[in-house]
């Protein structure tokens, strides 16, 4: 399963890359802002995008909405410290498959990825 990681934090991107690599997932790219995320999502067409909600140039929700206007069929897992009910509902209404609030258990993310892998 090919994964694109979107987070402004180098620490989070690196931690996720290590975790996903150890669990057998292929990290095909990393984006540190929304514009880069949209470009890489279109170019790499990953199976899954892990998408932070607060990015320096736009929100993760904006990224999701932009991607939805094009030919886009990656599964999106929002991973964010933003845990408001309204943010979660907005993300799910705009096509996010899952919403994980940081800090989260790594096993939870891996279980979601395995589930998405089985469904695909």
């Amino acid at each position: 399963m090919r994964v694109l990681i979107v987070d402004d934090s180098t620490y989070i991107r690196s931690s996720l890359r290590t975790l996903l690599g150890e669990e057998g997932f292929e990290v095909v790219g990393e984006a540190k802002n929304g514009e880069m995320a949209i470009d890489l999502a279109m170019e790499l067409k990953p199976d899954v995008i892990t998408l932070d909600n607060i990015l320096p140039d736009m929100t993760g929700l904006d990224v999701l909405k932009t991607l939805n206007t094009g030919e886009f069929d990656s599964s999106v897992i929002m991973i964010s410290a933003v845990g408001q009910q309204s943010a979660i509902v907005d993300a799910m209404n705009n096509g996010a498959k899952h919403y994980l609030v940081k800090p989260f258990d790594n096993s939870e993310l891996i279980a979601i990825l395995r589930q998405l892998d089985e469904e695909s």
Binding site: D8, S9, T10, Y11, S14, N53, I54, A81, Q84, K102
Partner: protein
């Protein structure tokens, strides 16, 4: 100011702040994988005790998150130099914790800002859900100051708001031997929101 609240409003405000800080405490415990207590909560802009930082010329790591949306404010999570070293040692892989290369330093500072990001967001989530306001924290920023500059910095930050609400918590991680300060400054609109609720 908090003094503008009557008794019942004050009860709601202090419960909300306590609940928010409790969520922050839980987040910090989960990130650091170590128990954390809330040692003290103050509702006034008391000066920070600089002795805990190990001397006036010691470096202090202050991570600031600016509140965006319907309520304006800022949060500041503050660690001493000694605490930062302990966090790196306890929470990061050894090859990063003991390495001073540019890449490892980026990871270390990223780790600190992520702690603040998650801990601040826990408070923001609690406030947003309870007060029914659209608020979120901007990308956190890290400043390294001398201990002697700290109180002045907080006062200057507070002066950006015409009327302000302060609250401050001291967390204590016994196992990690850390006592970070967690300071919030809110615009007075916070009080208006509480008054509308009660």
């Amino acid at each position: 100011m908090m003094a503008d609240l009557n008794d019942s409003e004050m009860k709601v405000a202090t419960k909300l702040i306590f609940d928010g800080l409790s969520m922050a405490k839980s987040s910090m415990e989960q990130i650091l994988q170590s128990p954390i207590n809330i040692e003290q909560i103050d509702y006034v802009n008391a000066e920070l005790d600089l002795n805990r930082f190990g001397g006036p010329n010691q470096d202090v790591h202050l991570i600031k998150t600016e509140l965006m949306g319907e309520l304006k404010g800022t949060s500041h999570l503050i660690f001493s130099e000694r605490e930062v070293a302990k966090l790196y040692e306890a929470c990061l892989p050894e090859k990063i914790a003991k390495d001073d290369s540019k890449e490892s330093m980026i990871m270390k500072l990223g780790f600190l800002t992520e702690i603040d990001n998650m801990v601040s967001a826990a408070v923001i989530t609690e406030f947003s859900n309870f007060l029914d306001v659209e608020i979120y924290g901007n990308v956190p920023s890290l400043k390294v100051l001398k201990a002697t500059e700290l109180n002045e910095f907080i006062v200057k930050e507070s002066s950006e708001f015409e009327s302000i609400i302060h609250f401050k918590a001291v967390f204590h991680g016994k196992e990690l031997d850390i006592c970070p300060d967690f300071i919030w400054v809110f615009h007075n609109k916070f009080v208006d929101k509480i008054k509308k609720l009660v």
